[in-house]
Subunit: 350 residues, 2 copies
């Protein structure tokens, strides 16, 4: 489809960490855009952003902003999505929402295109993009599940600060410089902007991402647990998560233990199944010290998998190390992939 006959696209949260990556991905993938609107909160309105060599002025997002918009890519926080997504849908926009606002809504498909693109057909105007840490794990687990079934998943995450926004990245850098200069860190944002206490992230590991729930798990951990079951359409899959924030700018890593249901593939077989998986790049050669790492994943859309090895006590148990750019496959790239799937499945009424 040529660009002059493309879609009217609005990016809400265009000035944020994920918004910027959405624009870059739309550019890189040459998504067919007829008209582009860059939207934000009142605070960021008026900023200038260049897209494909053209200058755009960011406008304040209002319900009317979505008149005539085919696809709205939302990443301006959950409360903004709660307010504006229904308004956009009312005006005929299909919203791909990158916040947690609608992910567990049973009327909203939660999509990782390589895994459950077909679920898009049941959409009611809003489509949810899963949490960053969920996307990369589910992308890697799907081909294993397809071949051997999946019984249990236990994940411990190693998550980058850019998942908490650009201000968290700045905080990490400032704290790092302060500590290298022999000064004290001055925590104001992390682990969670809106929470009561703030802790040093530089040269530390914080076992809290998002707020705590009554059951002792954080919301991030519950997202990984519930979203994984929803995307894999398997309520009985046992999923456990411990989510930890690290002083890494971009690139989430995950130490994942799984138990398969059928068979007991050897590592070579599992490596083959994973390398054949959509969007997965195997990087797994211990003899050559080859394994995925956060800094190597930055700017790439792949989900990298390595350190695959069989559990020494359970012949249906395996360990692996999954790494991906949390702003790309974990957010912006998956969002644009969902838009592409909508086009491919001819689900956008014009």
């Amino acid at each position: 489809m040529a660009n002059e006959t493309g879609y009217s696209v609005a990016v809400l949260g265009a000035t944020g960490a994920v918004g910027q990556q959405i624009l870059k991905t739309l550019e890189d993938k040459d998504f067919p855009i007829k008209e582009l609107k860059l939207l934000s909160s009142k605070r960021s309105a008026g900023k200038q952003i260049t897209f494909k060599g053209e200058n755009y002025t960011v406008e304040e997002a209002k319900p009317e902003s979505f008149e005539g918009v085919d696809i709205g890519l939302f990443s301006a926080g959950g409360s903004v999505s709660k307010e504006l997504a229904p308004e956009a849908v009312k005006r005929g926009t299909i919203v791909i929402d990158n916040t947690s606002a609608y992910r567990m809504d049973e009327n909203v498909p939660l999509i990782v295109p390589e895994v459950n693109q077909e679920a898009l057909k049941d959409h009611n105007g809003i489509i949810a993009n899963p949490n960053c840490s969920t996307i990369q794990m589910v992308a890697a687990l799907a081909p294993v599940r397809d071949k051997y079934g999946l019984k249990k998943v236990i994940v411990s995450t190693y998550q980058a600060v850019s998942g908490a926004g650009l201000s968290a990245v700045e905080e990490m850098k400032q704290q790092s410089q302060d500590i290298l200069d022999g000064k004290k860190a001055n925590p104001e944002i992390l682990p969670v902007g809106g929470d009561k206490k703030h802790y040093q992230i530089a040269f530390n590991a914080i076992p809290q991402i998002d707020k705590f729930q009554d059951n002792g798990y954080t919301f991030e951990e519950m997202k990984m647990i519930n979203e994984t079951k929803k995307i894999l359409e398997d309520k009985d899959l046992a999923v456990a998560a411990t989510c930890v924030r690290l002083p890494v700018e971009t690139g989430h890593s995950e130490s994942v233990y799984i138990e398969v249901e059928n068979g007991s593939p050897d590592v070579t077989e599992l490596q083959e199944v994973l390398s054949a998986g959509d969007g997965i790049t195997l990087k797994d050669n211990p003899a050559e010290q080859e394994y995925p790492m956060a800094v190597d994943s930055v700017g790439l859309p792949d989900v990298f998998v390595g350190r695959i090895r069989r559990d020494l006590d359970n012949d249906k148990g395996y360990h692996m190390w999954i790494v991906s750019d949390n702003l790309l496959k974990g957010a912006a790239y998956n969002t644009v992939q969902i838009a592409e799937s909508l086009v491919r499945l001819d689900l956008i009424k014009k």
Copy 2:
């Protein structure tokens, strides 16, 4: 026992990261020392070190250095221990070895005093101090095992660079500064000094500690697996480990999943069992964002445990977050504790 009637103690590797902490711990605990020898490689010999206000000159370690020495505290690397520990034992010294050289030797007790101090009675001159990441985990698991039995342990570690020595700490700081200055990092040591490839540790997470074994696990992972079984005296305990190096100066963190054998204690009961455990400090109040963190553990001998919660799918499964200063309880402090146990159990022939 008064100091004038104390022991002749030699510290081998006195100038290293762990050696320095051993001296500090001997000082803090006022261990009964009659005579102190500071030993090192030829390269570091001649350096001056102050202990309890007195100046000591570091001497090159030779077999004869151990004449008349009651207790030798070794932390100068595995090959040095292999060479000098038998020589020291021949001269009547009891060696407490902080390297991996003798840990899995069936004639050598592997000791975490709170857990298996009694095994010291079978020593044959050499006693091994476990790997740092093992010690803190086993210290936390022991009281749980004592009360409920233990079936399975799956750990993912978040390990500090000081575990790889002072030069690794310097490398991390230099790389951090270079990256903050917009320059490239220049990796020369980590993940493993003697391995083929070196990777950036600043603002990264490296899923390799120590060299890879033929089975795809690193030596560090196999140490955690085998040492845990040996210390807990349970060959059938299922233990799996994924060991990851972080840009943290000091303080190892561990995300640990366990399955107990008997009963299904609620979280409050488990918290009580853990706080009653020797050397354990519970820090577990999600409502107040209280949990252990690496930077808070530095300089303290405690093993901190928090984020205790029941698995949502297995009522015998629990998750917890275990943090300790890898140079203290993980190394120096445990080493000196072993020496104290030898005194307490009257196992040092004079």
